[in-house]
């Protein structure tokens, strides 16, 4: 049998370890380098150990306003997370039966995952540009003072930016729901219905507790994918940049370990979110029975 501990087994273990090293090694080096002393550069060797570059990052130093970009990214990530959970769980419930347009919607979901992000970003940018032109035309034609004086653009983080990110996070949410319901035992639900429970009550008491751990998974995808999203939001964020967009700009301008410090901080945030999600998931799984 395959699972015998022969030579191939050890080659596979070795290969897997190499792969994990390849995955995590580089990130580990920048964490290491971000704790250098004030004379540190972008490469090894380490010049002393300190938290100088984190203080520099905190002060704002050579870097643009990272604090507010950070705040914006977190807020947007949380909104995307909530919407991803709500929309993909409700759509997942709908998809348990065939409905009008369900094939089209499934096609759109898969297509959205594989359409090149720059194409989608361009499309949303064009759409909002036309929307702006239309709004301004309305303002000038009907003499709407409010539009003429204050309106600049409908493009923004919580309009076009949010929508563009949802086209990336929602498919993951729906596919997770598909995976859940494909393995879902319907008999509990039927029992509840037979005992006279309303559809809402059946969902609240039976279905929801059973899918709750998977919802944590959807939430994790929603937040982390939004928090790190770059390609789709690149053209549609309007005036305020998110953290990944600022970071991309910094790669060409910053030549001090401050960028590593920033990398350490964002990686720390991601890892915390992942850790919290895993703990919640395990906790919910344990309490199910």
């Amino acid at each position: 049998m395959l699972n015998k501990k022969n030579k191939t087994y050890y080659i596979c273990v070795f290969f897997f370890c190499l792969f994990v090293l390849f995955l995590y090694g580089p990130t580990f080096t920048i964490v290491l380098l971000s704790f250098q002393g004030p004379d540190g550069g972008l490469t090894f060797p380490l010049n002393g150990v300190s938290i100088y570059w984190f203080e520099e990052l905190w002060r704002g130093g050579s870097v643009v306003d990272i604090g507010s970009a950070f705040k914006r990214s977190i807020i947007l990530g949380l909104i995307v997370m909530v919407l991803t959970v709500l929309l993909s769980v409700s759509a997942g419930l709908a998809f348990r039966k065939k409905f009008w347009g369900s094939d089209m919607l499934f096609f759109a979901t898969v297509a959205s995952l594989i359409v090149p992000s720059i194409v989608l970003s361009l499309g949303v940018a064009l759409q909002f540009r036309l929307l702006d032109d239309f709004t301004k035309w309305l303002g000038s034609t009907f003499n709407i003072n409010y539009i003429n004086e204050f309106f600049q653009t409908s493009l923004g983080m919580f309009t076009s930016g949010l929508g563009a990110q949802l086209t990336w996070t929602l498919p993951f949410g729906l596919l997770i729901m598909f995976a859940v319901f494909n393995r879902f035992d319907k008999s509990y639900e039927e029992a509840a219905r037979d005992l006279g429970a309303s559809p809402w009550k059946t969902f609240k008491e039976i279905v929801f507790p059973l899918i709750a751990p998977s919802i944590i998974g959807i939430a994790l995808f929603g937040f982390t994918l939004s928090y790190d999203e770059l390609a789709r939001s690149s053209q549609v964020m309007g005036a305020g940049n998110t953290l990944p967009l600022e970071l991309k700009g910094l790669t060409t301008t910053v030549t001090t370990p401050v960028i590593y410090a920033l990398g350490t901080v964002t990686t720390f945030v991601s890892f915390s979110v992942i850790g919290i999600s895993i703990v919640c998931y395990i906790w919910l799984k344990r309490n199910k029975g």
Partner: protein, 294 residues
């Protein structure tokens, strides 16, 4: 006449908010891109029209065989090469990681833990993961230090960073997961008794791999390949950062045209990119039904 108010509320209605997002932020934008690719433009505005200039401009000089290959074809060729090399390495690495997880890790708990170990980087920032290669591959990076130390070269190697090599490395680093997940999923569906039967009939490990496991993993391989190829086809960020902004890509053409507000020209390029991507996917999905694989 259909009496709408008499239709029983159906659970299908729950998909409306979800559908709304895809109509408004996916379907309409793509249709608009197609329409605007035929529009005219000047420095500050886009003008409704029906012209083919945007497309003609892209293929200008492309069918003049006396000159060198045109910029467009060169860019596409270079992107295709990146696609192919990345696809090759992610497939090989992804397949063997999935193979190890599916067939050599016996306990479910360990399987989940190791699978998560591979997935966690996907939830962290791509830009950071790209930047993290700089201290390793740079002129004074660890790899160069090591090569100098063991005396393999006497000058720092320049091709390690901001080159085709570093781009492919970053792609493989970022996207091997796209191969691991679907292939692992396919492998977990393989009935272990089939493998035992092959083994009992005298097939060796390699024969089982080639004649049993790989054919049964085909759907996973196809799905993973679609993800990797499409993500590399439209890329402009990884090629930008890891190529030191020197190496062209289709995505980057669109990006640059957008920054100059040549929106209809960018739209025309986007339409061609999208058509090519769809063509590749169409060829690949002819082989499988994705929905059955979830």
């Amino acid at each position: 006449m259909i009496k709408f108010w008499k239709i029983k509320p159906s659970v299908g209605l729950l998909s409306i908010p979800y559908s709304f997002v895809f109509i408004f932020f996916f379907f309409i934008p793509l249709v608009l891109t197609l329409i605007i690719s035929f529009w005219d433009y000047n420095e500050y505005s886009i003008i409704p029209d029906f012209i083919l200039e945007n497309y003609i401009y892209i293929f200008k000089d492309c069918f003049n065989y006396e000159k060198d290959m045109c910029v467009t074809f060169k860019t596409y060729l270079s992107t295709f090469i990146f696609c192919f090399i990345t696809w090759f390495f992610t497939l090989i690495i992804g397949f063997f990681v999935a193979y190890f997880l599916a067939f050599y890790v016996n306990s479910i708990t360990w399987q989940i833990v190791l699978f998560l170990l591979c997935t966690i980087p996907f939830w962290t920032s791509n830009v950071i993961r790209m930047i993290s290669w700089i201290p390793l591959l740079g002129r004074n990076g660890l790899v160069n230090d090591f090569l100098l130390y063991i005396g393999l070269t006497d000058t720092p190697q320049e091709w390690l960073l901001y080159s085709g090599f570093s781009i492919v490395l970053a792609f493989v680093h970022l996207y091997t997961l796209f191969m691991i997940v679907p292939i692992f999923n396919s492998m977990m569906r393989i009935d272990k008794s089939i493998i035992e039967a092959a083994y009992d009939n005298g097939a060796n490990g390699l024969q089982i791999l080639w004649n049993v496991i790989i054919p049964l993993c085909k759907p996973g391989i196809v799905i993973g390949s679609i993800f990797v190829i499409t993500v590399v086809m439209g890329d402009f960020i990884t090629i930008g950062i890891m190529g030191g902004q020197q190496i062209p890509s289709i995505g980057k053409i669109i990006y640059v045209e957008m920054s100059y507000l040549q929106l209809p020209a960018a739209a025309a390029n986007a339409v061609i990119l999208l058509a090519l991507t769809l063509l590749i996917i169409w060829i690949m999905t002819k082989m499988i039904d994705i929905r059955k694989e979830l």
